[in-house]
């Protein structure tokens, strides 16, 4: 944690500004000695450019007409911004894909939360070897990536006659989100003091009432984390939709993007508009709940 004294490693103030700022500024943790971290400043600006240029290219390109895209400097602002790309994306069936994505995401989150809360409650409060062994088994699942078992999942979905349905995407997506969800939820329920559980017993409450009156209210932050993690995975999932569906009616957004890219061919602005649109919902969540979103993403892998 190489802390810079003056707040801006990007700016390059004269050498004397560092200590001066720390005198003027409010109470600092460390006094005097440190100079701004120029190296970190320069590197972070380079990284900023590398991250932003493709994103800028994506958003600005989506507002250009095709002629303008081919003619103009792609780094200039669009001279005559247009919404025609977004229109063509919607006439290309985007609304349907969007709806499918919402169904898949909501369905996956609902299954995961409904399964994980009672199970984590059992793991936290029932020490029997069967329960604990089951939990360990699930944690092994943390190390098994869905990609490696995509063929047997395909076989399974075929045998269940679910091929080319949204349920075919939802079920395995939920299953592979379970280990992390269990880990996060169990840790959170273990943090509830035993006295609170015991107080429930004294009040004469059985497990079901305890689940409703104590566990559910206190597990809200963990449920949020699990939901975010699961929703991101489901919203952005590509492989299960690719392998387990084929018809236009069941297509999800990510798959739709791929179709757009082959369909539109040379219509780069159209594709860029589709990509931008697919990102929007998550971007809004990010704007208003960045902490929840970022916390949910690394759930289970943090320290």
């Amino acid at each position: 944690m190489s802390i810079t004294q003056s707040g801006t490693p990007m700016a390059t103030p004269p050498a004397s500004a560092g200590p001066a700022a720390s005198v003027i500024g409010p109470k600092r943790r460390k006094v005097g000695r440190e100079k701004p971290n120029y190296l970190a400043g320069v590197l972070s600006v380079i990284w900023l450019v590398l991250v932003l240029v493709p994103l800028y290219f994506m958003v600005s390109g989506s507002f250009r007409t095709r002629q303008e895209y081919l003619r103009d400097n792609p780094l200039k602002l669009p001279s005559a911004p247009t919404l025609e790309n977004y229109e063509s994306v919607f006439t290309g069936g985007f609304g349907r894909y969007f709806l499918n994505n919402i169904i898949v995401t909501v369905g996956t989150v609902a299954i995961v939360v409904a399964l994980v809360v009672p199970a984590a409650y059992a793991v936290a409060r029932n020490a029997s070897p069967m329960v604990q062994r089951g939990f360990s088994l699930m944690l092994i699942g943390l190390a098994v990536p869905a990609q490696a078992v995509i063929i047997p999942v395909y076989l399974l979905i075929n045998q269940l006659q679910l091929y080319d349905t949204l349920l075919a995407i939802i079920l395995p997506t939920a299953a592979f989100a379970l280990p992390v969800a269990m880990l996060v939820m169990t840790n959170s329920l273990r943090d509830i003091p035993a006295e609170l559980y015991e107080a429930q017993t004294l009040d004469g409450a059985g497990p079901l009432q305890t689940l409703r009156n104590l566990v559910l209210p206190l597990a809200k932050p963990a449920i949020t984390t699990v939901s975010v993690f699961t929703a991101m995975g489901a919203w952005n999932g590509f492989l299960f939709p690719l392998v387990l569906t084929q018809s236009r009616e069941q297509r999800t957004l990510t798959l739709g993007l791929q179709t757009f890219s082959s369909q539109f061919g040379t219509n780069v602005p159209g594709l860029l508009a589709a990509i931008t649109l697919s990102l929007l919902p998550i971007f809004f969540v990010y704007l208003f709940g960045r902490r929840y979103l970022l916390g949910g993403l690394t759930a289970g892998f943090g320290k």
Partner: protein
């Protein structure tokens, strides 16, 4: 549930989750081994056909070269991504306002789906209409067409995609380091770089291992970015082993043989993560953490 208090939930609370996980996650792991002994072509139900796939896999040059390529991407990815993620993560752990603003931009790629990232970079690097073709200097390179350059191109796109996630890991870990340690070091006259190497780096060991294991297992099994970005091409220049598995199965309809490759990848990935955790004494460390 009598004696010990009536609140305790019974084991039945675990049954739904275990059933669901059993059917859609454990069963496939067993099935993939079974399938590796069949000639399943995707139709009907597969029946056993002996160890043909396994003797074939031993002689298959394509498997060998795709595994080597997987290793190349693994090493390249680790070497490039780890220092970047660690530096940005430690930097972003600072509470300064400008760092908060900048890191909220740094994390943006984490919001994009794999499909979005791969197709976006596809448009950026497109040999006819791409961004790079219209910029001075960059326009002389064929980022997706040159068999050597494409390896670095793919490695870069994967870096762009995954660094934000690992940065998040390092950021939250670095925030957990008590400020008092740095204050003591400052009083002892340790400079910024000395503090980084003698305090920050050792205390991030745990995160370094987590991040490394995720990268290693990921590079053995993840192929969706490459599938959309290059399709494994040009030729077979970027056809890593998991992508070879996918193509063998879902394009060539040799699901039995593809399953054999999948088993190899699963064992390879599990072995790698085991090796890393053992070699680095990760277990000892985590038990120390629990003790403290």
């Amino acid at each position: 549930m009598a004696a010990k208090g009536r609140e305790r939930p019974s084991g039945w609370y675990m049954v739904p989750v275990m059933t669901f996980f059993g059917v859609f996650a454990i069963l496939p792991m067993v099935l993939v081994v079974y399938l590796s002994f069949t000639d399943w072509d995707g139709f009907g139900f597969p029946s056993l056909s002996g160890g043909g796939n396994w003797s074939r896999i031993l002689e298959d040059r394509e498997v060998r070269s795709s595994l080597v390529l997987t290793l190349v991407f693994m090493v390249l990815g680790w070497v490039v991504q780890t220092p970047i993620a660690m530096m940005i993560g430690v930097w972003a752990a600072g509470r300064q306002r400008n760092r908060a603003v900048l890191s909220s931009i740094f994390f943006l790629p984490v919001l994009l789906s794999t499909a979005a990232i791969a197709l976006l970079w596809n448009s950026v690097l497109d040999p006819n209409f791409g961004l790079t073709q219209r910029l001075p200097f960059l326009d002389q390179f064929s980022f997706l067409g040159d068999r050597t350059l494409v390896i670095f191109t793919v490695a870069w796109v994967l870096t762009w995609q995954y660094v934000p996630f690992h940065t998040l890991l390092y950021q939250s870990a670095a925030r957990g380091i008590p400020v008092s340690i740095y204050e003591a070091a400052t009083i002892d006259g340790a400079g910024r770089y000395k503090q980084f190497f003698s305090i920050t780096l050792p205390l991030l060991r745990y995160t370094l291992i987590t991040s490394t294991v995720l990268m290693l297992v990921g590079s053995v099994t993840t192929f969706d970015t490459i599938l959309l970005l290059t399709g494994g091409g040009p030729g077979t220049a970027t056809r890593i082993a998991p992508l070879y598995m996918y193509i063998t199965g879902f394009t060539g309809f040799e699901f039995g043989y593809a399953s054999a490759i999948a088993v190899v990848l699963l064992v390879f990935g599990a072995g790698l993560s085991l090796a890393v955790t053992q070699l680095t004494g990760f277990r000892k460390m985590s038990s120390q953490q629990e003790g403290s």
